[in-house]
């Protein structure tokens, strides 16, 4: 009798535990599914605003489920572009689909998804020269979080039972929607406080260390991958004649070009850019914008950059103002001249540094080429 009562009590306690687990875990899953900060299942409900502060998660879900008519594609150098600026100027309704060092195949996968679900008016495509060297892989989302992009519903447990999503992303989304300091356009900063200056740039670029021995590359280095990626982009342009493709060249800091030069990649990069323009410019629905890509006042001013490649607010705000601006448009007639200008700039500019044999100290001001 006593043993039977004991078992009944133990049974009850086990049931309490199971009920608690169902309530807590079920509640957490329900919360994530309803708020869905990465738009994995649906667009924002309950009047919440879509926040785009985590590119790794948001690319695919946002492209699939948000409402928009234009898409901004690119790597980390375009992440900080404020899409509101673009939309105010160009009358579009844009979302971003970006990735760290985003490869051309990844951006193509975003485009595929976007065209499946939406009629696109414009595609703003930040053409990163390095992205064209990526191999076409079976997995269209290399480096992305697997469970967010595949079709397996079981691995979604990693999303709806995820501490970062519940305690970080959902509060962020709720607080942004509640307090109305909506910053969807400022999706991402390389460093939290948007700090710029030589000290930050030179943290990630050391001319002494970056001049190690590198493989020799001629101008045709990687040309198979480049041509394959360009063909893929061209296919989108051809298949969607009603969509305007606005390509632009993000302005990397001069140090980025130095590194490319030190790695013997400069010649190949310039040739690739030439090929990209040669292949894409002839299309009616393509526009190409140089932005500040070869503007010495911008790209040699280390005070405007957050690291070796990424511009701060000034650079990205200017970029947002220059995309779609006829003043910055390049054509079949002008593109070679623009590339020559960049080359001349690289040859003329010298980053002055003092070295102690091991490390170096940046010693401004910057010399501008005459």
């Amino acid at each position: 009798m006593v043993s039977c009562m004991k078992e009944t009590n133990e049974k009850k306690l086990v049931r309490h535990f199971l009920a608690g687990a169902v309530v807590f875990l079920g509640g957490m899953a329900l919360l994530v599914v309803l708020i869905d900060p990465f738009f994995h299942y649906h667009k924002p409900w309950f009047g919440l605003k879509p926040l785009q502060t985590s590119h790794q998660y948001q690319g695919y879900g946002a492209v699939k489920h948000l409402e928009y008519d234009s898409l901004l594609l690119g790597s980390s150098v375009v992440m900080s572009i404020n899409t509101d600026t673009l939309d105010d100027r160009l009358g579009s309704d844009t979302i971003k689909a970006v990735g760290n060092s985003a490869s051309a195949p990844l951006l193509a996968a975003y485009l595929d998804t976007a065209f499946e679900e939406h009629e696109l008016e414009q595609v703003y495509y930040g053409l990163d020269v390095f992205s064209l060297y990526s191999e076409q892989e079976e997995n269209p989302f290399p480096g992305e979080v697997e469970y967010m992009v595949n079709k397996n519903p079981f691995d979604d447990v990693s999303y709806f039972w995820n501490g970062d999503v519940i305690f970080e992303k959902i509060p962020d989304m709720l607080s942004v929607s509640r307090f109305d300091n909506f910053t969807a356009g400022l999706a991402y900063q390389i460093n939290d406080k948007n700090e710029c200056g030589p000290e930050y740039v030179l943290q990630s670029y050391n001319p002494l260390k970056d001049t190690g021995e590198h493989e020799e590359h001629d101008s045709l280095y990687g040309c198979d991958e480049v041509e394959a990626n360009l063909a893929q982009i061209e296919a989108f342009v051809q298949e969607h004649p009603d969509t305007r493709f606005e390509f632009f060249l993000p302005p990397y800091c001069i140090t980025w070009w130095y590194r490319a030069d030190n790695q013997n990649l400069l010649e190949s990069y310039l040739y690739t850019l030439e090929r990209a323009m040669e292949r894409l410019l002839p299309y009616e629905n393509v526009r190409f914008y140089i932005t500040d890509f070869n503007n010495p006042e911008i790209i040699t001013n280390l005070y405007l950059y957050q690291d070796v490649a990424h511009g701060g607010t000034t650079v990205t705000e200017r970029m947002a103002m220059e995309i779609g601006n006829p003043e910055y448009e390049i054509t079949l007639e002008t593109y070679q001249k623009e590339l020559e200008n960049l080359q001349k700039l690289l040859e003329a500019f010298e980053l002055r540094t003092e070295t102690d044999g091991i490390d170096f100290v940046y010693d401004g001001p910057i010399n501008y080429p005459e």
Partner: protein, 488 residues
């Protein structure tokens, strides 16, 4: 497969329990055992399928030798062969590269290093089988049925990080009929132990582990204060990590009505290093006592021999933990400490200094010794001690909590940042870290989880609390970490 993974909690464990209890319910005891072996092999092979070949070779090798012992009378020779076989396997996978590197260095040779990946838990399942082989040799163990022996070695709760189970403790339980019936009392105990262990690992050890990792990852930046906190963080991390795993293993055992031996009994409450070793990794110490210390003569043949035997045991214990001189030295310093405590002169001092000071000295010693255990090399440990005793304070303490920037304190951070900006957030981070230290210290000085579960009757509120702990642990899985003792 990790205990702290979605697949284990939501697929593997329910399936294992269903198959085990389901087959037992219908009286299919052998089938239940086969299911459990199959599940255990899946559990082990999930880490790396190739590991299965190693564990199966080990199990069948030992079983074959045991069968030969049954057939032939040359027990001693066969037993020695069995032990050599086990030690050989362990040496090859765990110590070969270390041995070659040291030989190369000592004799200026250039033997090739094989970069052998260490199969998880090899030290644990090898030691269980060495004990079995030694007992077989002495006629203290019978030749078991293959299914019994396989389940004894591969039983998943204890497979990769112990406790080191004796065949005498586990195999007879397979044949106790009452253990084949579902038991709510044991299920309740199992749930309580498992969830407490999971919480110890994910909510305490992993948090403090981030502080330890940051400190040990950049020793150059440390000052005395941050070095001290780094050291204590690791002391707590290793306890909550390993004892958390042991609690989970025991809990899983109870869920299947199979009791595993306990491995911890509040070790940081010890008042001497000797006492610490009676409370820390108890099954490893039982192994060394039974199969090394006592056969060497134990403490019966005078003080000198007692010290010699103690040093041998601790040297082996150090080597067992890993192929690195840091572990060897860690074992040696513990051996020296225990030997000193065995001296009569020390006993007198020991009783004079009082209980609280005893505890403090012991805890300090353990902390300092863990530095050796955690460091990648003796030089690194030396550098750490240098920082620790430099008596400097550069303010590096403010950097340590940033390693703990996890979801657990994010909402608080949002509030602090909103009201007080960066300065308030900084203070909050530091406070959060110190709260974790205090919590860890508090938990360490309470009853061990095993004693607590055994002595305290569960309540409905506690079960809801444990369900919440489980849920918080589950949402930590997305950034899951392995257990420190997997590599030993």
């Amino acid at each position: 497969m990790l205990f702290n993974s979605y697949i284990f909690i939501f697929l593997f464990l329910p399936l294992a329990l269903l198959l085990w209890h389901g087959a037992n319910h219908f009286g299919k005891y052998k089938l239940a055992q086969v299911f459990l072996i199959g599940m255990s092999l899946w559990f082990y092979g999930y880490f790396h399928p190739a590991y299965l070949l190693i564990i199966l070779a080990s199990v069948f090798g030992n079983y074959l030798i045991s069968a030969l012992m049954e057939r032939f009378s040359a027990h001693k020779i066969l037993g020695v062969c069995g032990i050599v076989f086990n030690l050989g396997l362990l040496f090859y996978f765990k110590y070969y590269d270390f041995f070659v590197e040291n030989v190369n260095q000592a004799f200026h040779l250039n033997w090739a290093v094989k970069n052998i990946a260490l199969p998880l838990g090899i030290s644990f399942f090898t030691f269980q089988q060495i004990a079995f082989m030694a007992d077989r040799m002495q006629g203290k163990a019978e030749h078991y049925e293959l299914a019994d022996y396989m389940l004894f070695v591969t039983y998943f709760p204890q497979l990769v990080a112990g406790p080191i189970v004796s065949h005498r403790d586990l195999i007879p339980q397979f044949h106790e009929k009452e253990r084949r019936h579902f038991d709510y009392g044991n299920t309740l105990t199992g749930i309580r132990l498992f969830v407490i262990g999971l919480g110890k690992k994910l909510l305490v050890a992993d948090e403090l582990g981030k502080v330890a990792d940051l400190g040990f990852g950049a020793i150059d930046s440390l000052d005395s204060v941050s070095a001290l906190l780094t050291m204590i963080a690791y002391t707590f991390q290793i306890f909550f990590d390993f004892s958390g795993y042991s609690d989970m293993a025991l809990g899983l055992g109870y869920l299947m009505n199979l009791e595993l031996p306990r491995n911890f009994q509040s070790p940081y409450k010890s008042h001497s290093v000797k006492e610490f070793w009676r409370r820390w990794h108890m099954t490893l110490n039982a192994f060394f006592t039974q199969y090394v210390y006592i056969p060497l003569g134990g403490g019966r043949a005078g003080k000198a021999k007692k010290i010699r035997n103690t040093m041998i045991v601790f040297l082996l214990s150090g080597i067992w933990h890993g192929a690195n001189w840091t572990f060897v030295l860690w074992g040696v310093v513990h051996g020296i400490a225990v030997s000193l405590e065995n001296l009569t002169a020390y006993e007198k001092i020991h009783t004079k200094i009082g209980t609280k000071l005893d505890w403090l000295f012991t805890f300090l010693f353990l902390n300092l010794a863990w530095v050796l255990f955690r460091s990648d090399s003796i030089a690194e440990a030396g550098q750490f001690y240098q920082k620790l005793f430099s008596f400097t304070n550069t303010g590096h303490i403010w950097m340590l909590p940033y390693s703990m920037d996890s979801f657990k304190n994010y909402p608080l951070y949002l509030v602090a940042d909103h009201f007080g900006g960066y300065a308030a957030a900084r203070i909050l981070y530091l406070a959060w870290m110190l709260v974790m230290f205090v919590l860890a210290a508090f938990l360490c000085t309470r009853k061990s989880s095993y004693d607590w579960v055994k002595e305290k009757k569960a309540t409905a509120l506690e079960m809801w609390g444990l369900a919440l702990v489980l849920s918080l642990c589950v949402i930590s899985f997305s950034g899951m970490s392995t257990f420190l003792y997997f590599n030993f």
